[in-house]
Symmetry: C2
Subunit: 302 residues, 2 copies
């Protein structure tokens, strides 16, 4: 039960009120792959430039990712630079240098086209469609997107949404995509666009799952210290999808597996802000993971 | 097991993008009393002016409140006027006319001084202390406050906090009171000021209960339509305290009753925004109430 993830493999320069880190491993596919914690094989498709350090690819491999779908092209790697405000939530993007990512045309290796699970991380919806067209019927397709595509390529986004099973977005994106203030209404409208299950992430307020026949509200774990929240959303997706794939769930299954996977995504995401880059995820022992899962359940069950 | 509530009994003029209502029944004690749904006797202490309609006091009595502690003084009733933004969350206060409330000195009728439960709604902390000094050892004391008192009368607020069992505040107030961004840290600091249990209300994101030995996160119910959110916080308090009092819980009890009461508070509060004034609360049938409680549990249990 392998997951294919198509997304960015990048360098992030992150400035927080306490510290600045330059060109550290980032990108949606990187966070997603490490977040899966080796529960299932993760196949990464992406592009890096000549500057990309081999040790960073090795780190992904060391944590269960197959990086043979990450191609190296002449030019610079995708580089994002941002500065967090004192609340560690609001942030200003200082630079987005697409580099080799500008011409990224994801080619899926023939041996991977039958991957059972597909996560289309946040890239241009035309590229997401291009990936879909290369696949031979995955059991389940999940998709992330962002305000940029909602604004600039709404038709392409609608085309790809019509073909996916799960949409993961944040609350602002859900409202922007539908024009609905109520997240219940937004989720209903999104389901009508295609995805039968909708996950709305609310950061420190947790996440909502709108399933085939049920709704689940999962609180965020309460963190003592936030070092760098970059990548928490992709970490959520990685933890969630790994749990779904490990259970072998398909698009016609009931909500139970997906509800349980929401907790795995939440716990996984809780580690991400505790370190720069993927460091928080890497420091999460199985024991700490289990303890947080227990703590989350205790926070949820009346 | 009666609850004594001391707070405002007022008129609200509320303007929403759709409608404007003038001088309708409002005030913390009014919302609290109606929200208790007659589960336990609620004794109201407050002050109204000559303009206060007898039918509004009768409405409170019809819903289980004893209004014999509401005195009528020469002058105008407390009148608040506000305008909600399109999101129905942000609001501008257009006028706060204290009227007879400016000289309010809550006197507790002798027969009520032994009330088992005390809810000190949001009034000047010196008045809250004045009430406390008239009581003969309630089983449990809960208190609400606001940014105004946190800013202008911090010492008085500290004195009263040292003597209460439960503080109910919203997330902004918890942060302001403690200077802590993390709500877990804020709750810990507040507990060190006196209240063993801290409830942090987050509006559409639900509420957190920080108890003696446990934490519970309760999501808000997802509403189809918001007419007027004024009073939702006091409605939460009324539903919560009525459940605690009906169970006969005391300050040294474990968290179980309080955790269950969080759900009752949440369901109660969900009705308030569905109408102007207390109308949403009044329209909540026992059957709808039970259904929402079931729906809330289904949203919470993984």
């Amino acid at each position: 039960m392998a997951i294919l993830v198509v997304g960015s493999v990048a360098y992030d320069t992150v400035e927080t009120p306490r510290e600045k880190r330059e060109r550290q491993l980032g990108g949606s596919a990187s966070f997603f792959a490490v977040a899966a914690r080796g529960k299932v094989p993760v196949r990464c498709v992406g592009v890096v430039g000549e500057d990309f350090r081999e040790e960073d690819l090795q780190l992904l491999r060391d944590h269960g990712a197959d990086t043979s779908g990450i191609v190296r092209e002449p030019g610079a790697s995708f580089h994002w630079s941002g500065r967090y405000h004192a609340d560690m939530i609001e942030r200003d993007t200082l630079a987005t240098e697409l580099g080799v990512f500008a011409d990224f045309q994801p080619g899926i290796p023939a041996a991977w086209r039958g991957s059972e699970y597909l996560f289309l991380a946040n890239i241009h919806p035309d590229l997401q469609l291009h990936v879909l067209e290369q696949m031979t019927g995955p059991r389940l397709i999940a998709l992330d997107t962002m305000n940029l595509w909602i604004e600039t390529t709404p038709e392409a986004l609608r085309r790809v949404l019509a073909r996916v099973d799960i949409l993961l977005v944040n609350d602002g994106e859900a409202r922007q995509l539908t024009g609905k203030r109520s997240l219940a209404h937004a989720a209903r409208d999104i389901a009508a666009m295609g995805p039968r299950r909708v996950i709305i992430k609310k950061g420190e307020h947790g996440a909502l799952y709108f399933g085939a026949d049920s709704v689940l509200a999962v609180p965020a774990l309460i963190l003592d210290d936030v070092v760098d929240p970059t990548g928490a959303g992709d970490s959520f997706a990685g933890g969630f999808m790994a749990a779904v794939a490990a259970a072998g769930a398909g698009r016609d299954d009931g909500d139970a597996v997906f509800r349980a996977a929401m907790l795995e995504g939440t716990v996984t995401a809780s580690f991400c802000p505790e370190g720069f880059s993927v460091e928080g995820l890497l420091h999460a022992s199985d024991d700490t993971y289990r303890k947080r899962l227990d703590a989350l359940r205790a926070m949820m069950i009346p």
